[in-house]
């Protein structure tokens, strides 16, 4: 990797607290009360005290002691669930918000792309907006002049550059915004899922641009995304945030696996499948999954995933099928498998299932389970549980001297392509 040992970002014990409930309409009286109490060294009468948890009284600890060191030329991915503190962390680093505790040291200029095209004004032309957006992001006018051609070329909106941006499509808007931000001369770049918009080709172009600037110009990139494939593609190192803490720091692939296992371990606490919350809509109440037992959750490639399920049916039913929607660690759907149709009796039923995992590559997986009934005409969904059954596939063999790379090759190992020499009859 191109990263060297020059520290660009040093974060120590970073904390960020938010006051819950109504804020901003604080009354003057309460503020004076708090201030007066503080003056006399007494406890603020308006602060509630609670246990040492993430929520204390009416404060939420969005970040609860994060330590992080990022070096020059590194592409660091930040993953974690909603509300884990990812965006808060980026906001603090980009100085939009200030921390409640701890320190951040930044050794370079920061470009934050928490949103693309911030400060764009619809009445102004693309060119005028490049100047405005560029200076907002910290460039000087002469720097922008020098890069103008490059920015316009990258944005792919040359023909419309002198048209007011209010006439732009949302895609053009994003392209222009990204190209301004990515052409800054800053040492640190912060991106919060800005790539989620724009077409695939442009997304790829952006990722390449960011990788290139990390490799060749030694810039440091921080990238937050829920899209694990872009994280894989862009980042060499990854941290996993959960409940305001940095719970893993290391290689991207391992971080994603760790994150997947973390999500599963949280799900496993729910063993009462009957009362589990069904988020899906249009479900009947005729059958409910009552229990799931996976016999071995680590299986070899090409092996068999065996699991038992208990169903609770309200009446006798035919043609009931179990469908497994297999997702990879990041939650992307890999494929679907369905069971033989079975007959259910009223009351509790136990069934044993064997699922040949076939060509699934080694890695962590988690399944959504759907119970449906198909009689040849209508497909009725009776029950659906999301991310309930996890398993992993391990394999000993290597491919061309290395283990299977999900990032490069995906989740399916197809059968070997048969090759046969074509012999031309020489006459």
């Amino acid at each position: 990797m191109s990263a060297d040992d020059k520290i660009m970002i040093q974060i120590r014990d970073l904390k960020k607290e938010y006051r819950l409930g109504q804020i901003g309409y604080g009354t003057l009286q309460k503020d004076l009360q708090s201030w007066w109490a503080k003056r006399r060294g007494k406890v603020d009468p308006n602060s509630k005290l609670g246990q040492e948890e993430r929520i204390e009284g009416d404060t939420l600890r969005a970040l609860n002691g994060v330590d992080l060191t990022v070096y020059r030329g590194e592409c660091l991915g930040i993953i974690g669930g909603n509300g884990a503190g990812k965006s808060t962390l980026l906001k603090l680093i980009s100085r939009v918000a200030s921390p409640s505790g701890g320190t951040i040291d930044l050794y370079g200029r920061v470009t934050s792309m928490l949103e693309v095209g911030t400060g764009f004004n619809g009445e102004m032309t693309g060119r005028e907006n490049i100047y405005l957006n560029g200076t907002i992001l910290g460039m000087s006018k002469s720097e922008i002049d020098a890069k103008m051609e490059e920015i316009i070329n990258f944005s792919e909106v040359e023909e419309f550059i002198d048209t007011p941006v209010k006439r732009y499509s949302s895609g053009m808007y994003v392209k222009l915004g990204f190209s301004v931000a990515s052409h800054l001369d800053s040492e640190i770049v912060i991106m919060d899922e800005v790539l989620a918009v724009g077409d695939i080709a442009f997304q790829q172009k952006c990722i390449n641009k960011m990788r290139q600037s990390a490799r060749e110009e030694n810039r440091t990139v921080l990238y937050v995304s829920h899209n694990m494939s872009t994280v894989r593609e862009l980042c060499d190192r990854c941290i996993v945030l959960a409940e305001g803490k940095n719970i893993y720091d290391g290689d991207t692939e391992e971080a994603i696996a760790y994150y997947t296992r973390y999500l599963q371990s949280r799900n496993e606490t729910v063993t009462d499948y009957l009362s589990k919350n069904r988020r899906a809509i249009n479900l009947t109440d005729q059958i409910r999954i009552a229990d799931i037992k996976v016999l071995h959750d680590v299986i070899p490639m090409g092996g068999m995933l065996r699991f038992d399920m208990k169903f609770n049916a309200k009446r006798n039913m035919d043609n009931i099928m179990v469908r497994l929607i297999v997702c990879n660690g990041p939650g992307e759907i890999v494929g679907m498998a369905y069971s033989d149709p079975v007959h259910m009796n009223e009351g509790d039923n136990w069934f044993a299932f064997s699922f040949p995992v076939g060509n699934l590559a080694s890695g962590e997986y988690v399944c959504d389970i759907a119970i449906s009934e198909y009689d040849g005409n209508v497909d009725v969904r009776h029950d659906f549980l999301s991310k309930v059954m996890a398993f992993s596939i391990r394999e000993e063999r290597t491919y061309f001297g290395r283990s299977w790379s999900v990032r490069r090759w995906g989740n399916v190992v197809f059968d070997t392509i048969k090759a046969e020499e074509i012999r031309h009859e020489q006459d």
């Binding site: 904390k15 938010y18 901003g24 939009v96 320190t103 930044l106 050794y107 920061v110 934050s112 040492e187």
Partner: protein
């Protein structure tokens, strides 16, 4: 790329920082100030028929109305200065101060969306707002000069030529005082929105408490009211401005000191509090 990155070292501390002015950083973003100023200038009059003509038309018509109402109907004595000219000067300088104050007081609320997404010294917006008020003033000033020349040739007014060098300072102080108070109010409005309502009303009241529609000399001999008026920090700029332009005005040392101290205090307090709020406002707005 062996740039001296450490030049850009930024230390962010969760503990409450000592109050800082951060003016160095504002200077680094000077191009942004210019662009913001240009943007406001071009955008304000887009899709209007008269365009920038409004810049001259509004103060002109206001002054005509003032002249008719206050001088004509109410019979205020302008010490021999033609009504139109008197009110053009008064109104022009007051508008500089008032719009610098009023527009700045909305900074945080108006720009909340941009502030939530990207960092730049927020003071750049405030300064560019003041510059816009200044530019508008200069355009009005040009109109005043033209009308003044007409009356000058007619021999009806005589500017105080010796004080001419003070003119830029008077103008700057009026703008800076508006800026200081404006950023102060804008910092407080992030928490107490009521202030927004109070600003328009307060500025109007303040106008009547300042010798704008009447000269200070009108109050001479009224004792307490006159003395109070001297402490009003806008009194000195107003009287001084008319003294320079029209040769009529009364300058009291108390007024001048009050103006200087107040402007400095408002600017300092305004910027300090503004910088503090700048760091936390995104969580409270």
């Amino acid at each position: 790329m062996s740039r001296t990155e450490d030049n850009y070292h930024v230390h962010i501390d969760g503990k409450e920082n000592p109050l800082q002015l951060n003016l160095k950083e504002v200077w680094r973003y000077r191009d942004l100030i210019v662009l913001f100023t240009k943007r406001t200038l071009t955008l304000t009059y887009k899709q209007t028929i008269l365009g920038p003509a409004w810049l001259v038309l509004t103060p002109f018509l206001t002054s005509v109305v003032y002249a008719v109402v206050f001088k004509g109907i109410a019979g205020i004595n302008t010490n021999g200065i033609p009504g139109l000219l008197f009110y053009l000067c008064s109104n022009g300088l007051w508008t500089l101060f008032a719009s610098s104050l009023k527009r700045n007081s909305a900074t945080f609320v108006v720009n909340a969306r941009v502030f939530a997404k990207v960092y730049f010294p927020r003071l750049t917006i405030s300064i560019s707002t003041m510059l816009n008020a200044l530019i508008e003033f200069l355009i009005v000033f040009a109109m005043i000069v033209i009308i003044l020349i007409y009356y000058l040739l007619a021999g009806e007014v005589e500017p105080a030529w010796k004080l001419l060098w003070l003119l830029p300072f008077v103008v700057l102080i009026a703008g800076a005082m508006g800026l200081g108070l404006g950023v102060l109010v804008s910092s407080l409005t992030t928490k107490y929105r009521d202030l927004r309502m109070l600003v328009d009303f307060g500025v109007m009241l303040w106008m009547f408490a300042t010798p704008v529609v009447y000269p200070l000399s009108q109050l001479e001999g009224s004792g307490i009211l006159y003395k109070v008026m001297l402490w009003n920090p806008m009194t000195a700029p107003m009287e001084l401005f008319r003294k320079i332009m029209l040769g009529q005005g009364y300058i009291d040392p108390i007024s001048v000191i009050s103006t200087l101290v107040f402007t400095a205090a408002a600017l300092l307090a305004g910027i300090l509090i503004f910088n503090r709020v700048e760091r936390t406002f995104i969580d409270t707005v």
